[in-house]
């Protein structure tokens, strides 16, 4: 799980062009949106693409993202349970 969390942080930084962030800057339980990492709606769409591209997870309903993109840990947990690759 810890390995996946670190991998996911690197993928988020790379995919969302967070050039001024390092993996250690992102807390495992830190909110991804709002006061935490401060991602926006376009970033949410990019996270949906990231899940499909890297883990074969296709969200049927974009609103599902609200429950999944709470933090890196919640995302990693969802990926562990639903990944196809």
């Amino acid at each position: 799980m810890e390995e996946l969390i670190l991998k996911l942080k690197n993928q988020i930084i790379d995919t969302l062009n967070l050039d001024d962030k390092k993996p250690e800057d992102i807390g495992d339980d830190e909110p991804l949106f709002g006061d935490g990492l401060g991602l926006d709606s376009i970033d949410a769409l990019e996270l949906i693409v990231l899940m499909e591209k890297n883990y074969g997870i296709k969200l049927k309903d974009a609103s599902e993202g609200k429950k999944i993109f709470v933090s890196v840990r919640v995302m990693a947990d969802y990926i562990n349970k639903n990944r196809l690759k």
Binding site: L16, L18, D19, D20, D43, E46, E52
Partner: protein, 208 residues
């Protein structure tokens, strides 16, 4: 009548940027790790994380406007922006095309897609500096001081200030400039915003 309050520029071939007579140059060392625009951002210690998400054009327009932010009026309700170039959003278009060109690896990128409209760049500046005036983007084949001045002056009919700029690639290196033009000059000895002066400044910047 309209006046040039100030202007900013970016000249990659000379590795210079700045405003008016205040020119900075970047050393070889400063541009090793990053592209030229990111090197300017780092050199100036700007703190706007959204910069890294922007495409090349938006970064370019953003940096030009940053150089002029101290000259903007406090009330931004009557400040507009007009930007022009001869490559539209080409860099973002090519990047986006790469995300959809392979049928077996077809993942259109939403964050790249938003920059496939060049006027996103002017929108970014409006958000950053709270400009509430008109915003427009023109794609022209080449720079014409006469057309540039005419379009900007038309925009000034409805507002008091306009950030107006041009950007082009010369030998794969960016050359761009931005004027803060106003109807009512704040400082003395402002040059008139006309084709003669624009051409003069344009040529001076590229020479230095």
């Amino acid at each position: 009548m309209s006046y040039i309050e100030n202007y900013s520029f970016i000249n990659e071939s000379k590795r210079t940027f700045g405003f008016d007579n205040n020119s900075h140059s970047l050393s070889d060392k400063e541009t090793v790790e990053n592209d030229f625009l990111t090197s300017i951002y780092r050199n100036q210690n700007y703190n706007y994380s959204k910069f890294f998400k922007m495409d090349f054009l938006a970064k370019n327009v953003f940096l030009l406007a940053e150089n002029l932010k101290n000259f903007l009026p406090e009330n931004r309700n009557n400040v507009g922006i007009v930007f022009m170039n001869n490559f539209a959003s080409f860099e973002a278009d090519v990047k986006f095309e790469k995300t959809i060109s392979d049928k077996n690896n077809y993942f259109p990128s939403p964050s790249i897609f938003v920059y496939t409209l060049p006027n996103i760049s002017t929108g970014e500046v409006c958000i950053r500096h709270g400009l509430k005036g008109e915003s427009s983007f023109y794609v022209l084949e080449k720079f014409s001081p006469e057309i540039f001045v005419n379009i900007v002056n038309s925009s000034l009919i409805f507002q008091d200030y306009v950030l107006s700029g041009w950007s082009e690639f010369v030998n794969s290196q960016i050359k761009s400039m931005m004027f803060l033009v106003s109807k009512f000059p704040k400082k003395e000895n402002c040059e008139k915003f006309d084709a003669f002066n624009v051409k003069k400044i344009f040529e001076t910047i590229w020479k230095n």
